[in-house]
């Protein structure tokens, strides 16, 4: 059995970005392939995972107490002023100097590598690169550096941070193999860091739904209400308003879980926003759903929310009602022109969205009325009516020809 010493920065629910989510998925997948993972995190968080062994860098038992705050997507500049990484009690902690933290982590890694048994070192992104190099130095084991984002992704026109670039490059050079999350990233690694192409492999990210998110939803459903977002994670669909409303809801109604089903270019931003607001533990990111999984998600939800910023029509609320789940839709959607038995709010009115979500969760009579009248209303709808209108229009045109 292969034993991997893995260096990470964060792990759900205490993650600020997709890195933590990817690590969770990857380690779970590895456990299914009979790989033993020893997962190292710089700081103690309250994790409930049984398929990997987790070591915390600041734990007494390790004797390497480092009050480290490591944040996956930070660049040096933004790190100083940022305070959004929360510990398990929701406290916000300031970090000191990020490079200093990276060095501390490397020191811990060296000690851990001396004590632990493993065959391979697997590290994620530049923040763990030094730790992995230190572990390699004491153990002589193979070292894989997994790149989820490069400094070129994090910094835009403003220019990259040279210190971080240096650490990334060193890490990639020191690694026996570099993993990239996409061909797009692989090309960047080869081009900007001068890493030989044969040393860079692509391992795409994935998402487990059937045996993961659905299962988790079922389990959470016992003690929680479920509020569902289902749609592409793009600006147009307003997922950020969903997350901000969730924050307000939780202030008044704690026993609720928010399920985000969908993928898109805002995915990491949304995951990160939830972390920033300290509510990651109340979110399930289920990825893109289809078929039976989508049905199940609708059915489990107590309310479906579509906070679209702009929506030419929006069929999902009708789908949701067909499954007996009431809906809250944005007034900026075409469907709000035809649907009466639902709740409506302006997409930007986060408080109004929250108010309505809480009302549905709190008042069964409201939920029932929305369900019953909503089903009645959508069941009266059918494509026959728009088809008839088309036929009328055909007739009108054909009569005109005569």
């Amino acid at each position: 059995m292969v034993r991997v010493l893995m260096f990470g920065w964060e792990f759900p629910p205490y993650n600020s970005g997709g890195l933590g989510t990817a690590c969770e998925g990857l380690t779970r997948g590895l456990s299914h392939s009979n790989v033993d993972v020893v997962f190292v995190l710089p700081k103690k968080v309250d994790l409930d995972v049984d398929y990997i062994k987790v070591i915390f860098g600041d734990c007494e038992s390790n004797h390497y107490v480092v009050n480290s705050l490591l944040e996956a997507y930070s660049t040096l500049n933004s790190y100083e002023g940022r305070l959004f990484f929360n510990d398990e009690k929701g406290r916000k902690i300031y970090g000191r100097n990020l490079l200093e933290e990276v060095e501390r982590y490397a020191e811990i890694a060296r000690e851990i590598a001396k004590k632990e048994n493993f065959d391979i070192i697997h590290a994620h992104d530049w923040l763990t690169a030094k730790a992995a190099m230190a572990a390699k130095a004491v153990s002589g084991k193979h070292f894989i550096l997994h790149i989820h984002a490069t400094e070129f992704d994090r910094s835009f026109e403003g220019g990259i941070n040279k210190e971080i670039y240096k650490i990334e490059k060193k890490g990639m050079e020191a690694a026996d193999l570099v993993l990239a999350v996409s061909n797009y990233t692989r090309k960047k690694i080869i081009k900007h860091y001068g890493i030989p192409s044969e040393k860079v492999r692509v391992v795409h990210n994935a998402i487990d739904f059937e045996n993961y998110a659905l299962e988790k939803m079922h389990e959470l459903k016992k003690n929680n209400k479920i509020v569902l977002f289902l749609g592409r994670l793009t600006l147009q669909k307003g997922p950020d308003y969903f997350v901000r409303a969730a924050k307000r809801v939780l202030e008044h109604y704690p026993d609720v879980v928010f399920v985000v089903a969908g993928s898109g270019d805002m995915e990491s931003q949304i995951i990160r926003l939830a972390a920033e607001l300290g509510i990651s533990h109340k979110f399930i990111f289920a990825g893109f759903l289809r078929g039976e999984d989508k049905r199940a998600a609708y059915q489990m939800a107590d309310l479906y929310v579509m906070p679209s910023v702009s929506e030419p029509f929006g069929l999902t609320p009708l789908e949701s009602l067909m499954h007996g789940t009431p809906v809250l839709i944005s007034k900026q959607s075409g469907v709000s022109e035809v649907l009466s038995n639902c709740l409506k709010a302006d997409f930007w009115d986060v408080d109004d969205i929250a108010n309505k979500i809480v009302a549905v969760l709190r008042y069964n009579a409201l939920k029932r009325s929305l369900q019953e009248n909503g089903i009645k209303e959508v069941s009266r709808m059918s494509w026959d009516e728009p088809a008839r209108r088309c036929v009328d229009i055909y007739d009108e045109l054909l009569r005109g020809e005569k």
Partner: protein, 408 residues
């Protein structure tokens, strides 16, 4: 001889502002909304006063002066009188002038235009008493005839009203109870000492209240002479035609440009042109005519919708949940002995709050027919329940601070 008996209902609820979960525990004033929406009570009172109350009162006052035999009756909810005092004292003054003619009767109802009779007889009696005091205070008269909120009626109500000392009661006159009988007679309530009932002639009433401006109606346009001829035609087959309607019919439901004020202006003289017609107030009608038999309504009826039942206020789960919650609070609210809290609780009993939660027509997609200051029945329910949540917290707080009464 045919007597026309007019009863106009004057009522405006204290509408609840848009009240979210974030207002709970913070916003104590439930009824003041300063927005440009129809939730702004002051704005509504001012608007309806200009469109209806002031011009309609002027027309009636003239008609009373010009036709010594012309008579009408009004029922004012206590909550509308309160709002006149607050927002439009000149309207109250113009109503006083009408009452002072001596030919305008004022009826009795629950102060809060509530459904209390259905849920708490004790509360019902208190509200009837509060109303009596208010009417005495504002108009200096004591009502003799009772009409329940939205003409909600059942046999037991007649007994209750008789016990309270009234000599008559108003009710809807629906076909399914009348059968072959006519609403144009005075009836008596079963198992009473002869309490008399006046039944609404819903056809003739609704000709004015609903159909007046309906261009697809075969009688459109309706003028006073034509309507008077229908009244005259009752001679020989009826004694009293009870025309019961919302006063807001004049200028608010039927706008001025429909000709409704012209109609109202000429109606008294047109009706009186026929020597066998006259006008009577409800108590005069009850005194003048013997009852022709019993009118029994074992179930609750009302003047609302085609159903003429309670479904406009109690037809769905939201309405039932809301009304059960408000009345279940009653015991504790009264225990606080805090007049302000008790008054707030009572204002929340006004029937309109539950009417706004009605989903009967909403699912037909025709929201325009449906008068609702909220965007949907669901929004009405949310604000209402959030307000109750706040009230409940306040009641709990007051009770926890109240000194314990010891029983030595």
């Amino acid at each position: 001889m045919v007597s026309v008996c007019f009863y106009f209902q004057v009522h405006q609820p204290f509408r609840i502002r848009k009240y979210s979960i974030f207002d709970i525990g913070r916003t104590k004033d439930y009824f003041s909304d300063n927005s440009e929406t129809d939730l702004n009570n002051k704005r509504i009172i001012e608007k309806v006063s200009q469109k209806c109350y002031l011009p309609a009162n002027a027309v009636l006052l003239d008609a009373l002066k010009n036709n010594p035999k012309f008579k009408v009756s009004f029922s004012f909810s206590g909550v509308v009188l309160e709002q006149f005092e607050k927002f439009a004292p000149q309207v109250l003054e113009s109503f006083r002038k009408l009452v002072d003619t001596g030919r305008v009767e004022v009826l009795s109802e629950t102060y809060h235009h509530s459904l209390a009779y259905l849920f708490s007889k004790g509360e019902f009696r208190e509200q009837v008493k509060l109303h009596e005091e208010k009417i005495k205070d504002v108009f200096g008269v004591k009502p003799k005839v009772f009409r329940n909120t939205e003409l909600i009626y059942q046999d037991s109500l007649a007994r209750e009203v008789e016990a309270l000392g009234y000599k008559g009661v108003l009710s809807e006159g629906p076909d399914f109870l009348l059968g072959w009988r006519s609403p144009n007679f005075v009836y008596r309530a079963p198992k009473t000492n002869g309490l008399k009932i006046l039944l609404k002639n819903y056809r003739l009433s609704d000709d004015i209240a609903f159909r007046f401006s309906e261009k697809s109606w075969k009688e459109w346009p309706l003028d006073a002479a034509k309507f008077a001829s229908w009244i005259s035609a009752v001679n020989g087959c009826g004694q009293v035609v009870n025309l019961f309607m919302d006063y807001e019919t004049f200028g608010e439901h039927q706008w001025e440009d429909t000709g409704i004020f012209e109609f109202l202006k000429h109606l008294p003289s047109e009706i009186l042109k026929h020597p066998d017609n006259d006008f009577k107030t409800p108590s005069e009608a009850i005194e003048s005519y013997e009852d022709v038999g019993e009118f029994s309504s074992p179930n609750f009826i009302s003047w609302a919708d085609v159903e003429r039942d309670l479904s406009a206020w109690l037809g769905n789960d939201m309405q039932k949940a809301a009304i059960q919650r408000i009345y279940s609070l009653g015991h504790n609210v009264k225990k606080t002995n805090n007049p302000e809290l008790i008054e707030k609780w009572r204002k929340l009993q006004t029937s309109d709050h539950f009417y706004y939660m009605c989903t009967k027509w909403f699912s037909d997609g025709d929201v325009h027919k449906y008068f609702n200051p909220y965007e949907s029945p669901y929004e009405a329910f949310i604000s209402y329940m959030n307000v109750l949540h706040d009230l409940e917290l306040e009641v709990k707080e007051k009770l926890s601070h109240a000194p314990e009464i010891s029983h030595f």
